[in-house]
């Protein structure tokens, strides 16, 4: 970020009206600086941690490499774990741009999985491309609906979205338990729906890994979110509402509608994470009897590290996905406890969060001084 005082030559006043304008590259680099430093520091801390607990850091690093890049399969599998994180990271980032904190990713993920699975096995007789499209839409819609409910309550009743999204997570979890137990279970012992039809599957793109076309959907979603936020009227309105709802109201922007809309889209994005997992990887809905799977919550970390920008989210999802993949291999190869990876992830988040807190304090002070 640049300071309050613009020292650039005023004759070069052709600069763009948007922050992502001509100085895009420089601005992006500055934006990315802290996350990059955070990652490097966190990795170093992880290595030191491994060393002082008497394990071999070199072995751990090797394990991280092998797990993610060691083979064609490893690369594919790494990207399999990155894909849902891109979606949930985008979900949190999008809501955040509207000034909302969507921690309902877990619930949106679950209901979307249910909807996609049901659409995947119950609808028959459709050609492949249509069936998979319908199943994807079913998942996105279910997630969107799950996000829109707290969105509407926030917009028109002023109930804080954090409370409601958390509650919606549990409603989704127990609803799924109930539906599986009573209606949707496939024959057999496992608490799982019947397998989706081959027509509803997302195609595999890097066999023998399970990597599927959902990765392209995720990258496409990142591009769409970017375009929506910075190149459309709705994005302008959503960002205005997020930064200053009172100014948005003054400008004739329908604040409640935008809040509800933002939660709908945010929910749909989290829902897509679940959807591609079902259609591309799991091929069925597995009842989360053990509780939440964590992609929704990880999305918060990914969005934070990615500075709530779609490009940053993709990079942050890559990092978190790679670390997640590395954990079991590191345990097996270097006897490094899995928790070490969590230490690294948590350190990254703490550093980035601390930076943002400090920045916002400074910004406020400067603005106070400027008045």
């Amino acid at each position: 970020m640049t300071g309050t005082v613009e020292t650039r030559d005023p004759s070069r006043s052709q600069d763009q009206g948007r922050p992502q304008g001509r100085n895009r590259l420089r601005a992006l680099l500055i934006e990315a600086l802290v996350p990059i430093i955070a990652v490097v520091v966190a990795l170093l801390i992880g290595l030191i941690f491994i060393a002082i607990t008497g394990r071999d850091p070199a072995k751990a690093a090797e394990a991280l490499w092998v797990a993610n890049f060691g083979s064609r399969r490893a690369i594919g599998e790494a990207l399999v774990s990155v894909t849902p994180l891109i979606f949930t990271g985008l979900s949190v980032a999008f809501a955040f741009r509207a000034g909302l904190f969507n921690i309902g990713g877990e619930g949106q993920y679950i209901v979307a999985q249910l909807a996609a699975a049901v659409a995947g096995y119950a609808i028959t007789g459709l050609p492949g491309w249509l069936h998979v499209t319908v199943a994807i839409l079913a998942g996105a819609l279910a997630g969107g609906l799950w996000g829109a409910i707290p969105g509407l309550l926030k917009a028109y009743r002023g109930v804080h979205e954090v409370v409601n999204t958390i509650m919606m997570n549990y409603i989704a979890l127990y609803l799924a338990n109930y539906l599986i137990a009573n209606y949707l279970k496939a024959p057999g012992a496992l608490p799982v729906t019947p397998e989706i039809l081959p027509t509803a599957r997302l195609a595999q793109i890097l066999p023998p890994s399970r990597l599927h076309t959902g990765l392209f959907l995720a990258l496409g979603a990142a591009v769409l979110v970017y375009l929506l936020l910075w190149h459309t009227r709705w994005g302008y309105e959503i960002r205005a509402v997020g930064h200053n709802p009172r100014a948005a109201e003054y400008a004739g922007i329908d604040v409640p509608r935008n809040l509800a809309l933002a939660m709908l889209i945010s929910g749909a994005l989290a829902g897509l994470a679940g959807t591609v997992q079902v259609l591309g990887v799991q091929r069925a809905f597995y009842d989360p009897v053990g509780g939440f799977v964590g992609y929704g919550f990880d999305g918060i970390a990914v969005a934070l590290l990615g500075r709530n920008h779609p490009a940053g989210v993709v990079l942050a999802a890559l990092l978190f996905g790679i670390l997640d993949r590395a954990a079991p291999t590191m345990q097996a190869m270097a006897q490094v406890p899995k928790a070490t990876i969590w230490v690294v992830q948590a350190t990254v988040i703490l550093l980035v969060a601390a930076d943002q807190i400090i920045r916002s304090l400074f910004k406020r002070r400067r603005e106070v001084a400027a008045r």
């Binding site: 005082v5 005023p10 006043s13 009227r233 205005a240 100014a247 003054y250 603005e367």
Partner: protein, 520 residues
């Protein structure tokens, strides 16, 4: 009287910005010394150096004749220097007494002697005639009261030289009056006051001497009241002070010819609404605004002006009454419809309402029109058009820095306000509602904004000016209405209005029939 303080050649840089450029300042013991300068001139920086918050890059400070190094505020307090910042540094949930004694509490190391604190504060408040309730919580008292608490806090710590940074910026006219009384009492009791402001009138009204700062330099130190001066003095005029402050001659009088009022364009009948606390705020307002005139609404803050503007612009629901714009009933229309019918609005709070501070200047320049061609086509933003538009506004209104990509929050207050005024005037409205259009803006920008408002009138637009500054109302209006307790209590042509009559009406007095015009 000798000098209590001498600052010599104080220089302070912030990166490329030279905030203080070799400033000399001499303050005599027992005087009220005004520090006058536009926003960004370097006043606060100089005082922060004196209070030990910044270290100067060059220069020396002599306090009571001795050279001193003020390493931090604790050192300043030891020396007897106290400062009340522009933005208060109180702890809202604590009581007045707790805030005052904070850091120097009576009682043992581990226990706060609450009763003792209250007693001490009571004694102090009596000694200086600063009325406060020591047991009230700071969050529940008015801004004027909080300021007194800050002053008492400084006095409690033994301040002999008291620095007040723009103390009047947050106060109502009555509170300003009370503050002046307090300042006078303090100097009578031998304290010295440095008083920062950018308002010319206040300098002439309050100060014994003034130092004018422009672009980090001391451009003049002048006698005002003659107190403590060796011989008779001729105080400077407002215009002279303004010229020193801005660096060029500024016209303080608004040049304007007679109005040529046309058709009524905005008609308000029996408007009623509730305020934020659910109590009636408007109790039947009637108004007619004609094309080509400026109607000024005078009144003390909190008499329904805010609610009136919000009802007119669609931000608040009236409970009764009717608003017509060019004959069309707009009482129930949303904000955007009203704008499309020709209403523009300069809101009274530029940071809360008028701007999205985290947006760029360009993004702010289309706020309210962002959904329309040419800025947006088929839902897609046309950023080139937006930038071009912003560049036009920047040029027309001399907004600095002239960069559409600058974050609006990093502009100075005056430039933020110019951006809003530019945006609203550019809408080519039928009716322009201007609420406090120059609040907290420096002299140069005030001049520019006033000229534009008159120009709009001369182009046949109707301007509704709501201002707490009587001077502004008197200088700009063609007709003046006075608001008191949710009603328009009087209306008169501007020629018939004087500061005295308006002041009286604003305070709820009635108008003697001798002056003509219809009261209510």
């Amino acid at each position: 009287m000798g000098n209590i303080l001498e600052m010599r050649g104080i220089t302070k840089r912030f990166g490329p910005v030279v905030a203080n450029d070799g400033i000399d300042l001499e303050v005599r013991e027992g005087e009220i010394h005004a520090l006058l300068g536009e926003n960004g001139a370097g006043k606060t920086t100089l005082m922060n150096i004196l209070y030990g918050l910044y270290q100067p890059d060059a220069g020396e400070i002599r306090y009571k004749g001795k050279p001193v190094t003020i390493t931090d505020p604790n050192r300043a307090i030891e020396l007897g220097i106290g400062m009340v910042h522009q933005h208060f540094m109180l702890i809202p949930p604590f009581t007045v007494a707790e805030n005052i004694v904070l850091g120097h509490e009576p009682g043992s190391k581990t226990r706060l002697d609450r009763a003792g604190a209250v007693e001490k504060v009571r004694a102090l408040s009596q000694e200086f005639g600063l009325k406060v309730d020591p047991t009230a919580r700071v969050e529940s008292i008015s801004v004027g009261m909080q300021q007194r608490v800050e002053i008492l806090k400084a006095l409690y710590r033994g301040a002999e030289l008291l620095i007040l940074d723009e103390p009047t910026a947050v106060l109502t006219p009555q509170e300003v009056q009370e503050l002046i009384g307090i300042m006078r009492r303090l100097v009578e009791q031998g304290r010295t006051i440095i008083f920062i402001t950018h308002k010319l009138k206040e300098v002439l009204r309050i100060a014994d001497r003034v130092t004018v700062i422009r672009q980090g330099r001391n451009v003049a130190t002048l006698d005002i009241s003659g107190r403590g001066a060796p011989g008779p003095v001729t105080p400077p005029t407002e215009a002279e002070l303004a010229a020193l402050m801005v660096g060029r001659a500024v016209s303080l009088k608004v040049e304007k010819g007679p109005a040529k009022p046309g058709e009524p364009v905005l008609e308000v009948e029996g408007l009623e609404c509730l305020g934020s606390r659910g109590l009636p705020a408007l109790k039947g307002v009637n108004l007619t605004l004609r094309a080509g005139e400026i109607l000024g609404i005078a009144g003390v803050d909190g008499n329904g002006q805010t609610e009136l503007i919000e009802c007119l612009t669609g931000l608040r629901r009236p409970t009764a009454g009717r608003i017509r714009l060019r004959g069309q009933d707009i009482t129930r229309l949303p904000v955007r419809k009203r704008f499309e019918l020709g209403l523009a609005h300069i809101p009274e709070d530029r940071q809360k309402r008028g701007l999205v501070l985290d947006f760029t200047v360009a993004e702010n320049a289309i706020l309210g029109r962002h959904y329309r061609s040419p800025y947006c086509r088929l839902g897609v933003m046309a950023w080139q058009q937006v930038t071009a538009h912003a560049q036009r506004l920047i040029r027309d209104f001399d907004i600095r820095p002239p960069l559409p990509g600058t974050r609006a929050g990093s502009l100075s207050g005056g430039n933020q306000q110019k951006l809003i005024v530019a945006r609203e005037i550019d809408k080519e409205p039928v009716v322009l509602i201007a609420a406090q259009p120059t609040r907290g803006v420096d002299v140069g920008a005030i001049e520019a904004i006033h000229r534009r408002l008159v120009a709009e009138r001369d182009r046949g637009r109707a301007v509704l000016l709501v201002s707490l500054e009587l001077d502004e109302i008197l200088a700009l209006s063609d007709r003046i209405a006075v608001m008191y307790e949710g009603r328009i209590v009087a209306e008169m042509p501007a020629e018939e209005a004087t500061e005295e009559t308006l002041g009286l009406l604003m305070a709820g007095g009635t108008r003697s029939g001798a002056e003509g015009g219809v009261a209510r």
